[in-house]
């Protein structure tokens, strides 16, 4: 493969560096969020381990040529589906959801890794499908690739994670190509199915979330509570923020999940608008770099792999950041590389590794 001689000089250090800086900021924020309630700093220490393992995985997924991964993608995808089935049958219920696999003291969410495998599978499919617009058959094939894991995850039932596969559908439709009249038909279908889904498909607590999203003041101590509290934390940070460890809102339990889903409110409170702009800037930089890589990829498969993977980042960042101030409803979507959590951190490091992998091997003769 000759990585050292040919590929490494073409590795984009800025891209990987940005990801690591974001992860470092994440560790600092988790510390801010937990030092008071967790004096032993076990949460921060654990996240540091996750980051270290994540970087190791990043390197691993950088070294192996992504074309080899395309070759074994069906196997990985198959194993992922089997794990999801295993979960449904033998999984332990954590917070009413069977999404964790326990291995010794460790536990991980196979659905996070399934995102990578599904992206690989989808990119592999589009490698050989180079039509400008998807025809019916190829559309169904793409949807089936995404639909299989999503279906299994919905049964768990973990809607948040299932929803996080949505960017793949968007990628398939937008980059796979759909004619304008099909778009129109689908928008119409959506408009009809959303109210139907609301009444027949969603569980009561999910319905409640949407009602409260539309009117958060309605229940300040209930489901609207998180958003109200997050806004107070972020708003009280002002332009300059209260400073490192000076936050009073986020470190306490006013905001549940303040070190996972609502970690961004810690940033807003302690580092103010300036901190928010810097972190958003880092994410935007990371996304634009990745999309630039996509343009310059050696092959169509590489382009699609980068787009699929970065679409996860885009989706997570926008949904998570927007829900902090109530622009979007509250969902259990973590902030990539920043929120505390092993599976999510590892998944995003792998994604970063794979994106850099595609970029590193952009020259056809490599």
């Amino acid at each position: 493969m000759n990585i050292r001689e040919r590929s490494l000089p073409t590795l984009d250090w800025n891209f990987i560096g940005t990801a690591i800086v974001i992860a470092a900021i994440g560790v600092v924020l988790i510390y801010s969020a937990t030092w008071f309630t967790d004096p032993n700093l076990t949460v921060v220490k654990r996240q540091m381990i996750w980051v270290a393992v994540g970087i190791a995985l990043l390197i691993a997924f950088l070294i192996v040529d992504y074309r080899i991964l395309f070759d074994i993608a069906p196997i990985l995808y198959g194993i992922g589906l089997l794990l999801l089935v295993y979960l449904l049958v033998w999984g332990q219920v954590t917070a009413n959801v069977r999404s964790w696999i326990h291995i010794g003291a460790f536990q991980f969410q196979p659905s996070e890794f399934m995102k990578i495998f599904t992206a690989l599978m989808l990119a592999r499919y589009f490698e050989s499908n180079d039509r400008a617009y998807l025809n019916f058959r190829s559309f169904i094939t793409a949807m089936a690739i995404i639909g299989a894991p999503v279906g299994l995850i919905i049964i768990q039932p973990d809607f948040g994670t299932a929803a996080s596969f949505f960017p793949l559908i968007a990628v398939a439709m937008f980059f796979g190509g759909i004619r304008p009249r099909v778009w129109a038909a689908m928008i119409l279908a959506a408009l009809i199915s959303i109210p139907a889904g609301y009444f027949f498909f969603l569980k009561p607590y999910q319905r409640e979330r949407i009602v409260i999203f539309l009117n958060p003041e309605r229940d300040p101590l209930g489901s609207g509570y998180q958003v109200t509290q997050a806004k107070i934390a972020i708003g009280s940070g002002g332009i300059h923020g209260k400073g490192f460890k000076q936050g009073t809102q986020a470190r306490l339990d006013f905001i549940p999940e303040h070190h996972t889903d609502f970690i961004f409110s810690v940033l807003g409170e302690e580092w103010g608008f300036i901190g928010v702009v810097i972190v958003l800037g880092l994410y935007l930089f990371l996304i634009i770099q990745a999309l630039t890589f996509a343009k310059h990829a050696r092959d169509r498969g590489g382009t699609f792999l980068v787009i699929c993977l970065i679409s996860f980042v885009i989706f997570h960042v926008i949904i998570n950041v927007a829900m902090q101030i109530g622009v979007l409803p509250t969902t259990g979507i973590p902030l990539p590389l920043i929120s505390y959590g092993g599976s999510s951190t590892l998944m995003f490091f792998i994604a970063v590794g794979l994106i850099a992998n595609v970029d590193m091997r952009r020259f056809v003769n490599a």
């Binding site: 008071f36 309630t37 004096p39 180079d130 039509r131 400008a132 617009y133 025809n135 937008f174 980059f175 190509g177 300040p220 101590l221 509570y225 109200t228 509290q229 806004k231 107070i232 934390a233 972020i234 708003g235 009280s236 940070g237 002002g238 332009i239 009073t248 809102q249 306490l252 339990d253 006013f254 807003g268 103010g272 608008f273 928010v276 702009v277 958003l280 800037g281 994410y283 935007l284 996304i287 634009i288 999309l291 630039t292 996509a294 343009k295 169509r300 382009t303 787009i307 885009i314 926008i318 950041v321 927007a322 101030i325 622009v327």
Partner: protein
């Protein structure tokens, strides 16, 4: 159907569209944050302030104060206080401007206080940070608690909190020793940074001196409140457990203290009594009459109460045993005897002749006994309290020697008792006169020394200093540091008690040859036990007591006048200082000093209390002496119930 093959351009266009789309979305997000953090920052800052973790103090249990045998003199009793939570109140007042008025009139009705008083308490509470509860009333009765809780929906800002109220179970008993507690002032806050406005701290006596032990360490619970003022839940990891204060065992003996105080109360006397153990300096009783009730201080202290205490003509707060400065009178003859012997100006066999008066430095000085005492040696001089003997001794010593030896017996300086406000008193000297001239005259005249020799002139002593001196005579010359605390008991978290004993400390040592010391001791023994002694009223059956009386003229008298015929404020002060058991071969274990302001006579008014206290302490010994079981009359008395049987020793 045509099939468009995708060339790179098609895909490139879509990617570029996404890049621009991303940039737009991020700008929109940043704009949204600008709206929250820039435009609305003030609003959220206000909400954040209200929305926080609040510290609720868990007051530490103050240590108990007990007498030497563990009888509890000061403890803590549960009580209910009313506090108002201003963080909760603020938004309600904003919604309903009449709310505050409603609240004040409601409280005025429940507490039975005028509305102005309630407003005044609100005003006073402004010094407390608004996140902390503002105390409005203490010691609520159960009906008051019920009335307040019944209106909890209307007035959610009112909270009834259980507190520990300092309680002195025996009221005025040993009040001056125990002292009292009160709210911290600015000086206390500067000294102890961990204290807060409204905290209680020892202000006087043992409560003050041993405050560091008694106070303990307050704990805290952290409760989350949201911006609506609602208490959510306790944040348990941050909880700090309160550490109870250490218990203090006084050296005070409850029984002796009670008897001493009762004597003053029953006889309506003003004065002080000090009982100390001459072996170790422990204060067994210290009474000062009249006394205050320390319970008054641990309640809300109104200016009226304070005025009442201050306006009492007898100065209730003064601990006369250590702060009362009095002329020692004849009690000072003991000091003169010791000084003369130590300096070698007299020996145990020196005699002076008393003819009722004598001339010293060109002036005639009278003995209290017009007929005179004849030839007097040191023993007899003490027994009959002959003035001429001490005039002569004083003339030989001079005032500066008197000063020097008095200081060794703690006169003119503080004896460092573990109580606040001890007074040093005054023993004159030529140096003192130079610094404190009389009408511009800085010279000390030798004739003034003659007055000092019998305990008059500018001399000022406290009853405690007299007790220190008597203890030195009783224990053979050791001047010990007196103390009122015997043991400090620390209860560890495991419930195990660790006891720290207060050590005996020697301040000075008085070197005296045994014959000289014995002469003084025998003289004092004869005061009480021989016919013609001035302290016969202190004689206790079956127990040898040695002592010295003192009677101090309050106004200058011409000739020999009977004090009892004078109005109260001109009556003589009465002293009696004694120790026992004092029979040969016995080790004295108790010194008693009684001082009665305007009492009349030392022998008649002060000595009976000493007798009482000795009898109480050595009850069994006294009883066995009185109970002659071979005497059928005694048996009859026991049967009739007139004589109690001796109780076994504790």
């Amino acid at each position: 159907m045509r099939v468009y093959r995708d060339d790179q351009k098609f895909l490139q266009f879509r990617i570029n569209a996404l890049i621009w789309g991303m940039a737009a979305v991020f700008v929109f997000l940043a704009g949204s944050f600008w709206f929250v953090q820039g435009v609305q920052a003030e609003k959220y800052r206000g909400l954040a302030e209200a929305n926080s973790l609040r510290e609720l103090k868990v007051p530490a249990k103050r240590g108990l104060i007990m007498d030497r045998n563990g009888k509890i003199l000061a403890d803590n009793q549960p009580a209910y206080s009313l506090v108002v939570d201003r963080v909760v109140m603020r938004p309600i007042v904003k919604r309903d401007p009449n709310h505050r008025q409603k609240l004040v009139s409601f409280l005025s009705g429940v507490l039975g206080l005028p509305p102005q008083e309630i407003e005044a308490r609100f005003e006073k509470g402004k010094a407390i940070p608004s996140a902390k509860p503002l105390p409005l009333a203490e010691d609520l009765t159960m009906p008051q608690v019920a009335a307040i809780q019944a209106e909890a929906i209307l007035f959610p800002e009112l909270n009834v909190t259980p507190v520990q109220r300092r309680n002195y179970g025996y009221g005025t008993m040993a009040a001056h020793v125990m002292g009292f507690i009160g709210e911290v002032n600015d000086k206390d806050l500067a000294q102890y940074p961990d204290l807060e406005q409204g905290d209680l701290i020892g202000k006087r006596g043992v409560e003050l001196m041993y405050d560091n032990y008694l106070r303990g360490k307050d704990g805290a619970e952290y409760w989350e409140y949201d911006s609506h003022g609602r208490r959510l839940e306790e944040y348990e990891p941050a909880r700090k457990t309160a550490v109870a204060g250490d218990n203090v065992y006084l050296t005070i003996d409850f029984e002796l203290q009670r008897r001493a105080e009762q004597y003053f109360i029953e006889n309506e006397m003003v004065g002080a009594a000090v009982v100390i153990d001459p072996r170790n300096g422990e204060v067994l009783a210290m009474a000062s009459s009249p006394a205050y009730n320390p319970n008054v201080y641990s309640k809300r202290f109104t200016p009226e109460v304070y005025k009442t205490i201050l306006s009492n003509p007898f100065k209730l707060e003064i601990n006369r045993a250590i702060q009362g400065l009095y002329s020692p009178g004849s009690v000072f003859k003991n000091v003169m005897a010791l000084a003369g012997l130590m300096d070698g100006q007299i020996t145990h066999s020196t005699t002076f002749s008393c003819g009722g008066s004598g001339t010293f430095f060109g002036r005639r000085f009278r003995c209290w006994k017009r007929e005179g005492h004849g030839s007097v040696d040191i023993e007899r001089s003490l027994k009959v309290s002959c003035d001429i003997f001490y005039y002569s001794t004083g003339a030989k010593l001079g005032v500066d020697k008197i000063n020097e030896y008095s200081r060794k017996l703690t006169f003119g300086e503080i004896s460092k008792i573990d109580l606040d406000g001890e007074k040093a008193g005054l023993v004159p000297s030529t140096k003192w006169r130079a610094e404190n001239p009389v009408r511009g005259d800085t010279k000390w005249y030798p004739s003034e020394t003659i007055s000092v020799s019998i305990g008059q002139g500018p001399l000022l002593v406290t009853p405690l200093q007299v007790a220190n001196m008597m203890a030195a005579i009783a224990n053979g010359g050791k001047v010990l540091r007196p103390h009122v605390v015997r043991v400090i008991e620390k209860i560890g978290p495991d419930g195990k008690a660790k006891r720290l004993r207060v050590a005996t400390e020697t301040l000075h040592e008085v070197k005296l040859a045994p014959p000289a010391l014995n002469a003084v001791r025998r003289g004092l023994w004869r005061v009480v036990n021989e016919v013609g002694g001035t302290g016969r009223n202190a004689q206790v059956e079956g127990l040898g007591i040695s002592g010295k009386t003192g009677t101090v003229q309050v106004i200058r008298q011409v000739g020999w006048v009977k004090s009892s015929s004078l109005p109260f404020k001109h009556k003589d002060h009465a002293w009696f200082a004694a120790y026992g058991p004092a029979d040969p071969g016995q080790t004295p274990s108790m010194v008693v000093v009684v001082f009665v302001e305007h009492g009349g006579g030392g022998g008649s008014d002060a000595a009976p209390l000493a007798k009482l206290l000795f009898e109480s302490r050595f009850r069994d010994k006294v009883m066995s002496a009185r109970l002659n079981l071979d005497n059928p009359e005694t048996l009859e008395q026991i049967r009739e119930g007139d004589l109690p049987l001796p109780t076994p020793t504790r």
